[in-house]
Amino acid sequence: MKSISNKLASLLLLAGAFNGAAWAVGDLPGGPAVRQLNLHPAVTRIAAEQHWLHWFMMITCVVIFIAVFSVMFYSIWKHRKSVGHKPANFHESVTVEVIWTIIPFIIVILMALPATKVLVASKDTTNADVTIKATGYQWKWGYDYLTGEGQGVAFLSTLDSTHREMSNDGAKGDIPDNYLFKVDNPLVVPVNKKVRIITTANDVIHAWGVPSLGVKQDAIPGFVRDTWFRAEQTGDFYGQCFELCGKEHAYMPIHVKVVSAADYTAWVGGEMKKMAAKQDDPAKVWDLPAITARGEKVYAANCAACHQANGKGAGPIKPLDGSPVVQDADKTKQIHIVLNGQGAMPAWKQLSDTDLAAVISYTKNNWSNKTGQLVQPAEVLAQRGK
């Protein structure tokens, strides 16, 4: 009942002085403005073209509307019984019918031409600089940077939980301008680069749309679709899920942060580090079966091409099976070689400490090497840079 009285209070407030000051809310740059009347300011060429098209259509339609209804209201004014107008008898004319069939036909063709041009351009997703997969989940967005700078970066983007609570509380009190738009991890993209968004979904259909960028694409489970944008200015741009996806449909916003090329590179670097750090806890203490099982995979992916799956090597490639370095009780010898390379052997320091520890432990306990030695990630870390 409290909420109803609250409503009545606001109703009185509205009746008294109707303005946005009731909630003291401001415009959200890149998102909606208070009492916004038209489309968002365009940030991409496609969005600008959409604006132009919309104005073109609006003006054409309003002109036709006024023309047609001036005739109707003139008739209503002049041809009333109360002003003594006598009804005429005409009731058909093939000429007139043909004319007013052909004229609208020509008008719609003129409207379709510019629309075709924009549509074809907006569907051309080739030659993207960065490709990002946006996956709709109930109820968050997942982003995977697939190609281009930042490849490999992946994260989830979820509505800030305090905003969800504000919503439950009836959005009372001091509500921020980015209410329902604030996410933990915005999608970061470089400015003036063609960004291709591949959409898919994990559960039901969602739709990824950002009005300022002029994009909206359904995210369909089991299928991939794509769209693209090339943001022409930096800044924060906001969108929401546009396809009913269940109860939290209103709570899975999209926040696109467009940054300069340098900032983007820096962001990618930071993100890579964060991901590497997140991937495995370097302080974790492993047991032998677990670490060799993992090491087998790392070996297969990175080492087997040269050293062979049987560890015998070939030609100039030294064998690992029975190698004194591998079997040496001093684990740091092998760690050093793997980290820094030796002769034909390249350095492998780009692999994570855990992967390196795993692959070393694997070689120390496979084939005829039965050392029983276990290398922990911390030991690899300790040797880095030495």
Binding site: V25, R35, Q36, L39, F65, M72, A88, A112, K247
Partner: protein, 570 residues
């Protein structure tokens, strides 16, 4: 309950055979007029139920934040509002109009299949109970939107099955109703009424009935596949098993777009009857109206994917659907021009039916233009699934279909009940409805342009003001319809009000409403045109009074016009 009853009992010539009285009259009804009344009352009830849900939606959206309902219930409200209004209110209401008016307008004694007519009405009751009752099932009503998109429907609780079953039954009812209307119109026209002399309302309903028969089975197929996906392990739409959720949308909208015209073509028919009557001038371009209606119906089958521009079709597909959709604007424009040409040089008066008809033309055209804007795929990328779409389809469904039904109600209610409604109340109803409607839905265009998505239980603060305005308008709009029922409909049903003459819309010189329905007394006797009437050359007048002797005791001063001698000149 209706004044329709009051007279036939006194007239021996009506009483060829006994027909049931009391509740049996309605449950076993085979008379097209009784069934028409049942349909209209049923659909008005559903309009109130669906309207109540709309009021709850608008109350929740009055302010940002969640106040009255949780998001889960909110989705149930929007879903059920759509389903109830489309399948429970608008479609049955037009069937009600058809039941009442088609036999009267073509000079037939009744509908072709009177018992099937009864069955198709009474099927609606269990369907409606099941649909509305799904609110009380575990997990609540279906919440996947009225379009019931897969795979969200696969996540729904048992109420989804109830909803699907209810829609199957309503679909069966619609198909039976359509068969009845087609057979009646094609076979039971009075001698001399060729197809091209038929009233426009019959024409639009004939075309609508074909559309219904063509697409209701498609809907049934789509929801049956959803049902088997849910329970019998099929994977038509379930991506988990290789199904295609977009295929559901294609099938649904192959039904859904003709469905849009199913809901508007009979409205065009009513407007085409009302405008000439109050302009005192024949409908301009009758033939072109018929052709325009047919073209709209045919085109409606090849535009469906304009509802799906954001699903990611190939560019050629999008272009095709954009072009065909824009093409529909042409025959629709022709209809608007014809109505205005009908008014031109007429001698117009503005009683409630005409007010609603002019209001229809004016506001429906706004909805038509926003439809044209939405048809442009690049703009649709901005507006798809926003409030712009909500504004658009309420402009064509409320200001379109509903206004036309109000117009038709005021136009024919004297014939149905034998009493005139109160004209001032009709005018109040019109202006109240018109103003509240625009306050409700016009701001939604701005919300949509600003990117507010539809089906949102809560929205960013920047959208607050327009939502508050829309909510206030909606409450006013809802209240106007309650007023309409208690102050216009109910008095007419109770027979309160001045007695209606046989031709309430005709001047003494005979100018005004034309058509066979005005050749029978007011209220229309229980049985009409039991012998096929002999018609004049225009098929708008009955030549021999043999069929329709005036059944009333003559009124004191104003005897209802007898069969006009001037009508027999031709």
């Amino acid at each position: 309950m209706s004044a329709v009853l009051d007279h036939h009992g006194h007239d021996a010539h009506d009483e060829h055979h006994a027909h049931p009285h009391g509740w049996r009259r309605w449950v076993f009804a085979t008379n097209h007029k009784d069934i028409g009344t049942l349909y209209l009352l049923f659909s008005f009830t559903m309009l109130m139920v669906g309207g109540l849900l709309a009021m709850l939606i608008r109350a929740e959206l009055f302010q940002p934040g969640l106040q009255l309902v949780n998001p889960e219930l909110f989705n149930q409200l929007t879903t059920m509002h759509g389903l109830i209004m489309v399948f429970g209110a608008i479609m049955p209401a037009f069937v009600g109009f058809a039941n009442w008016m088609v036999p009267l307008q073509i000079g037939a004694a009744d509908m072709a299949f009177a018992r099937m007519n009864n069955f198709s009405f009474w099927l609606l009751i269990p369907a409606a109970l099941m649909l509305v009752g799904s609110f009380f099932m575990p997990g609540g009503a279906p919440a996947a939107g009225w379009t019931l998109y897969a795979p969200l429907t696969l996540q729904m609780g048992p109420s989804m099955d109830a909803g699907i079953f209810a829609m199957h039954i309503m679909g069966a009812s619609s198909i039976m109703g359509s068969i009845n209307i087609i057979v009646t119109i094609l076979n039971m026209r009075a001698p001399g009424m060729s197809l091209m002399k038929m009233p426009m309302f019959c024409w639009t309903w004939l075309i609508t009935a074909y559309l219904l028969i063509a697409v209701m089975p498609v809907l049934a197929g789509a929801i049956t596949m959803t049902l088997t996906d849910r329970h019998f392990g099929t994977v038509f739409f379930n991506p988990g098993g290789g199904g295609d959720p977009v295929m559901y949308q294609h099938i649904f909208w192959f039904f859904g777009h003709p469905e849009v015209y199913i809901m508007i073509l009979p409205a065009f028919g009513i407007i085409s009857q009302v405008v000439p009557a109050f302009a005192r001038k024949r409908l301009f371009g009758y033939a072109s109206m018929v052709y325009a209606t047919s073209s709209i119906a045919i085109l409606s089958f090849i535009v469906w994917a304009h509802h799906m521009f954001t699903t990611g079709m190939p560019v050629t597909g999008q272009l095709f659907f954009m072009y065909t959709t824009m093409l529909i604007a042409v025959p629709t424009a022709v209809k608007i021009f014809n109505w205005i040409a009908t008014m031109w040089q007429g001698s117009m008066t503005f009683e409630s039916p005409m007010l609603f008809a002019v209001g229809f033309i004016f506001v429906f055209t706004i909805g038509g233009f926003t439809g044209l804007i939405l048809a442009m795929a690049p703009i649709d990328l901005q507006l798809q699934d926003t409030y712009y779409v909500v504004a658009h389809f309420h402009y064509v469904l409320v200001a379109g279909s509903l206004f036309a039904m109000f117009s038709g109600f005021y136009y024919w209610v004297p014939k149905w009940t034998g009493v005139m409604y109160n004209e001032s109340r009709g005018k109040i109803h019109f202006w109240w409805t018109m103003i509240a409607f625009n306050i409700t839905f016009f701001p939604m265009h701005f919300l949509g342009l600003a990117g507010m998505p539809r089906r949102y239980a809560d929205y960013p603060m920047q959208f607050a003001d327009f939502n508050a305005i829309a909510s206030i308008g909606a409450f006013g709009f809802g209240l106007a319809q309650v007023y309409f029922f208690f102050f216009v409909v109910l008095p007419c049903m109770r027979g309160q009000g001045p007695k209606a003459s046989q031709r309430p819309w005709n001047d003494p010189d005979g100018k005004g409403a034309e058509g066979l329905e005005w050749e029978v007394p007011s209220p229309a006797p229980f049985h009409t045109f039991e012998t096929p009437p002999r018609l004049d050359a225009t098929a708008t007048k009955v030549l021999d009074a043999r069929v329709q002797p005036e059944p009333h005791a003559p009124a004191v001063h104003m005897p209802p016009p007898q069969i006009q001698p001037d009508g027999s000149k031709a």
